[in-house]
């Protein structure tokens, strides 16, 4: 059912196609947005909780980049009339799904990696010059958070791919609604519903791995731990490992069985 060379060739082809001015501009803006904001903030404020800002902004660009690259997985092929050419190949539909998922994940990972690295670098060069403790913090925060960001990219790429397969024509807006409602709103509700969001488990993983990094604000720490560290760390890791598998399995099932009808077909 799955052919690795086929998936890789779809992924490679996607990267070749993405070498256009528009797409490169999108890469550029998304990767440089967090460092630009960190630079601005570092110059207007001696803010200590820079990690939160970097995390928040990286999360925003991760979501946005995957809205662009993961959600139109089926629609872009239908819109560019490339669908029939690829889906009439053996295992073409699943290869298309997984190849595009891989390309979207790698693109988002690249964006997040650049964003986190440059943001940390800017913090080190600005605040770090007169505060050695910041340099110390960055050396542990940077690598660990990069890994968490990459995990986020893979998870959201899989979830958004599922939206793309289910609602090919309105996938981007529906995925945006999903992000707003489930990942921003529901994830912040201290109830069972929050555990059904990717963000809940990402925050749990961050708390478990990086630790809480604003120790001065005790109520915040307590609240965050109460809400997001409610589950053992291994459960968070397990859920984050299962989400892509589950989302992609459902997507593969749907894409293989669904009739995608273009206007040219009647």
């Amino acid at each position: 059912m799955i052919s690795i060379p086929q998936i890789l060739s779809v992924c490679l082809f996607e990267f070749k196609r993405s070498l256009t001015f528009g797409r490169m501009t999108a890469y550029f803006i998304l990767s440089l947005f967090p460092p630009a904001m960190v630079l601005l903030i570092a110059n207007v404020s001696a803010f200590n909780g820079y990690q939160l800002i970097i995390m928040f902004l990286t999360y925003v660009v991760c979501i946005l980049s995957l809205l662009l690259w993961a959600t139109p997985n089926v629609y872009s092929e239908l819109e560019s009339r490339n669908w029939l050419f690829i889906t009439t190949r053996p295992r073409g539909r699943v290869s298309l799904l997984l190849g595009k998922f891989l390309a979207a994940s790698l693109s988002a990972c690249l964006v997040c990696f650049i964003a986190v690295s440059l943001s940390c670098l800017i913090m080190a060069l600005t605040v770090g010059r007169f505060r050695p403790d910041v340099l110390q913090e960055l050396s542990t925060f940077g690598p660990k958070f990069t890994v968490i960001a990459l995990i986020a990219c893979v998870n959201y790429a899989a979830v958004f791919s599922l939206w793309g397969v289910l609602f090919q024509r309105r996938a981007m807006v529906i995925a945006a609604i999903y992000s707003l409602v489930n990942e921003f709103l529901f994830a912040a509700i201290p109830a069972l519903i929050s555990e059904f969001s990717v963000r809940y488990h990402l925050v749990g993983l961050t708390l478990g791995w990086i630790g809480w990094f604003i120790p001065e604000v005790e109520p915040d720490k307590e609240t965050m731990e109460m809400w997001f560290a409610g589950l053992p760390l291994w459960v968070n890791i397990l859920v984050l490992a299962l989400i892509p598998v589950a989302a992609l399995s459902i997507s593969a099932y749907v894409i293989r069985n669904r009739e995608y009808i273009t206007v040219d077909e009647v």
Partner: protein, 358 residues
Amino acid sequence: MPINNVGYRAWDGITRGALSRCLAIASTGIGITFKSQWIRRMLFVSWLPVAYVGIGFFFFEKYMDEQIRQTIQGLDTENKIDFERLRREAQQNIRPHEANQRIPPGDLRGALSLFPKSDVVIRSIMNDSPSVARHTTWCWMLMFFFQYPQGIMMIMMIGLIVPPLISRDLRSRAYLMYFSRPIGRLEYLLGKLAIPATFLAMITLIPAMTIYVFGVMLSPGFSVVLDTWDIPFRIVIASAVLIIPTSLLALMFSALTHESRFAAFAWLAVWGLGEGAYRAISAAQFDPRTLPSGEPVAQRITDWSFVSLFGTVGKAQTWVFGLESDPRAVIPFIIVLLSISVVAAFVLYRRVTAPINA
């Protein structure tokens, strides 16, 4: 052999003017858009907030009953309200749900303090005459209605409707069909602009007017209309503030690409990145550790809402509904919105001309 003239023949009858051409483009677009089930669903969902704002109006009118008013005032044991403290509490909390936990149960003022400009409303209810308090409270509820549920609905609605409007014409070369007829570029653009404007009016202007009528119906008598006669005008202006810049911006994105998904992405990115930037800067400013000891938070706060389109539109609407005490503070936001509208209109006009000039 007879040679027949099969070329262009001028129309001898009477044409109905430029407006009819705009209407033809708009009505066709609206008809096609309305066929989408998703749009119809979203329209339905967009009207749900009318219910809870309506309930707000209902309870407010009940509150205006003197006896109930006194009862609620009686809950305030100290008989004075520290608005600054309430505002500081709200601002220090980046995450509203956390602040929620700190509010003692049943404290109406504390709950209201989470919402922008609530201090104006509370002060008015407590100190002003019922007619002034009514005007302020209605305006505040309508502003809240425009800014939050309908503001977010507007982003999604435009995200669904506008991206293909011009990009599809560019892709399929349909502009050749348009411009081979006596349709000017301005007529084309106005026709296209009317499509999102109509749908946005359906989720802002019309429900807000419905709420207003509902409020009047729940009030003690028709004299209320004299107190609130300006609110319908404010609703119209607030709708225009929401509809015109946003529709023009989305149409501009649509005109800049042949692939509608890039237009949709650009639209979502503008809101996402803007709001992200605003929240990041606000969080940095509001963090207590950024302040030298003893310095009040309020003095350090600079309003960075203009980096977010959401915040900019919201600020302008606050002013439209008369809830901004210092109108000069709104000028930068108005300039931002005007600039967006002018630049978007200019780019649109240029882009629509581009295929003809090519």
